[in-house]
């Protein structure tokens, strides 16, 4: 059902966990729907120096989280905000049509964490 790339990321997801004292946290989805992702980002000089996640969800949701964290790490905030759901699905070698909503959550969660960072920065100005 899934591409080998998806299964690799599902079996050995990268960047799983939480960041202590993160600069931004974003949470999307909820347990009722069967998918929930929490992303944590650490930002230095406008660059995402660390990205971690925790995900409750199906194989695609876990693989997408892992891929999004890989794609975002080391990128500037502007670059990371440009990552689209389609980019993530493409990097994973495609997803079954009924799993596309999982890839939508991935980029959304990352962007939510970045927006949270930007909002916090506004507050401390």
């Amino acid at each position: 059902m899934y591409s080998e790339r998806v299964m690799e990321h599902f079996r050995n997801p990268h960047n799983v966990g939480e960041i202590e004292n993160p600069d931004g946290v974003g949470e999307v989805g909820n347990p009722v729907c069967g998918d929930m992702m929490t992303f944590y980002v650490k930002v230095e000089n406008g660059v995402l120096v660390d990205v971690k996640f925790k995900t409750f969800g199906c194989g695609a949701a876990i693989a997408v989280s892992s891929m999004v964290s890989d794609m975002a790490k080391g990128k500037t905030i502007e670059e990371a905000l440009k990552i689209t759901n389609a980019d993530v699905a493409a990097e994973l070698g495609g997803l079954p049509p009924n799993k596309l909503h999982c890839s939508n959550l991935g980029a959304d969660a990352l962007h939510a964490a970045i927006r949270n960072y930007l909002a916090r920065r506004e507050e401390t100005k």
Binding site: Y2, M7, F10, R11, P13, V16, G17, E18, E27, G29, N30, P31, V32, C33, G34, D35, M36, M37, T38, F53, K54, T55, F56, G57, C58, G59, A60, A61, I62, N98, K99, L100, H101, N104, L105
Partner: protein, 391 residues
């Protein structure tokens, strides 16, 4: 069965000799399948699948009695091949009552008695549920239906091959099950129809199956069905006892090896060979993929495995919260299953769940002492939205 895929290609409807061997094969199979459920051969209609048989029973029986009433009763935990025909009948002007079940999935005869009306023409309640392992008291339910002059159908797909079936003792008017319930080939199923009961044919235009289902028979699959019924008839008692013992082990031992595991369905008197749980804080499909990597084939009623992207209607009918229904795990043992395989499963599952929990934000919430299933106000499911769009 194999000759009918090759040189015995005659049509059982033909008068010439080529039709004779296939015709006899079908009638022998009919005797064997009938014997398995204590029916008369003439009461067995061969169909292509249990889904077809369920459609035939629900729509065919309702349409055959529509001059007597337009009210039908089914349970809330039926298979889609009963739920959807009932919905179609609603669109045609029938009224459908969906009976609630208790926390273990049981349909109470009292609940049926309270819902039944003078214009009720048909009641359909599945014998055993494939998702939560509950076995219904079909004899008691059929009696209630008959006291009110309604016909009674039961979907026996999950029960056949696991418990002995006696359609006379159960008192059903119709009963459906596929060949694969007893390890027969795909492509054949039986609809038992009690003598004197005439469901309207869904497939018309031929005299096959005594005018009850038109179309050339799937001779090879039906012959295989008969052979499978012969084996099941002699082995069923042993299978049933072995399956019950093995699944009782899973039901008793898994909660000892893993915390936050909730049994779904009844604690005792379950369908032999069936065990089902909700494993908290992890999603069903993720468990299935990991189990598959270990060579273990399991099922789940989570929305991610159900192609509808909605949590199982069965688990929700039992009163399980949506979030817990996403964590369902269903194990079905077969007649070749062994204690060693049960041990293997019991060893493999806990580390899989632990790995998934370590990446689960719900588990993190739980460890922090928060409500793991809290949702933000006003939040809706995107995936349900997707589902609507797909329709």
């Amino acid at each position: 069965m194999v000759p009918f895929l090759g040189f015995e290609f005659g049509n059982p409807a033909s008068l010439h000799r080529g039709g004779e061997v296939p015709r006899r094969a079908i009638e022998t199979a009919r005797e064997l399948v009938a014997a398995l459920i204590n029916a008369r051969p003439g009461e067995v209609v061969f169909e292509s699948s249990a889904s077809e048989a369920n459609n035939h029973a629900v729509k065919g029986l309702a349409l055959s009695r529509m001059d007597k009433g337009r009210h039908i009763i089914i349970s809330a935990i039926e298979h889609a091949s009963v739920l959807e025909p009932a919905r179609s009948l609603e669109r045609l002007g029938f009224e459908v009552t969906r009976l609630p079940v208790d926390r273990e999935g049981r349909v109470g005869p009292d609940t049926l008695a309270a819902a039944i009306r003078p214009d009720t023409i048909l009641v359909s309640v599945m014998h055993a549920n494939y998702e939560v392992g509950v076995i219904q008291d079909i004899a008691a339910l059929a009696q209630v239906a008959h006291e009110h002059k309604a016909l009674f159908h039961s979907d026996g797909t999950a029960a056949v091959g696991r418990v002995p079936i006696d359609v006379v003792g159960l008192g059903v008017d119709a009963y459906s099950f596929p060949a694969q319930s007893i390890y027969g080939p795909k492509g054949a199923a039986a609809l038992f129809v009690k003598r004197g009961v005439r469901p309207v044919s869904l497939i018309e235009g031929g005299f096959q199956e005594n005018n009850r289902r038109a179309g050339t028979e799937n001779v090879a699959a039906i012959a295989g069905f008969g052979a499978a019924a012969r084996v099941a008839g002699s082995e069923l008692e042993t299978w049933s006892a072995d399956l019950a013992r093995l699944s009782r082990r899973v039901v008793a031992e898994l909660p000892r090896r893993l915390d936050h595991v909730v049994l779904t369905g009844p604690a005792a008197g379950r369908l032999p060979g069936h065990a089902s749980f909700c494993v908290e804080f992890v999603e069903g499909e993720a468990m299935l993929l990991s189990l598959d990597d270990e060579g273990i084939a399991a099922a789940s009623g989570s929305s991610c495995t159900a192609r509808t992207l909605k949590a199982s209607h069965v688990l929700l009918a039992l009163g399980l919260p949506h979030a817990l229904a996403q964590s369902s795990l269903v194990l079905t043992l077969g007649w070749e299953s062994t204690d060693a395989e049960v041990d293997y499963f019991l060893d493999k599952l806990p580390p899989i769940v632990q790995r998934l929990r370590e990446m689960s934000p719900l588990y993190a919430r739980h460890l922090r002492g928060e409500d793991p299933y809290a949702t933000r106000p006003g939040e809706t499911c995107d995936n349900e939205h997707t589902h609507e769009e797909e329709n």
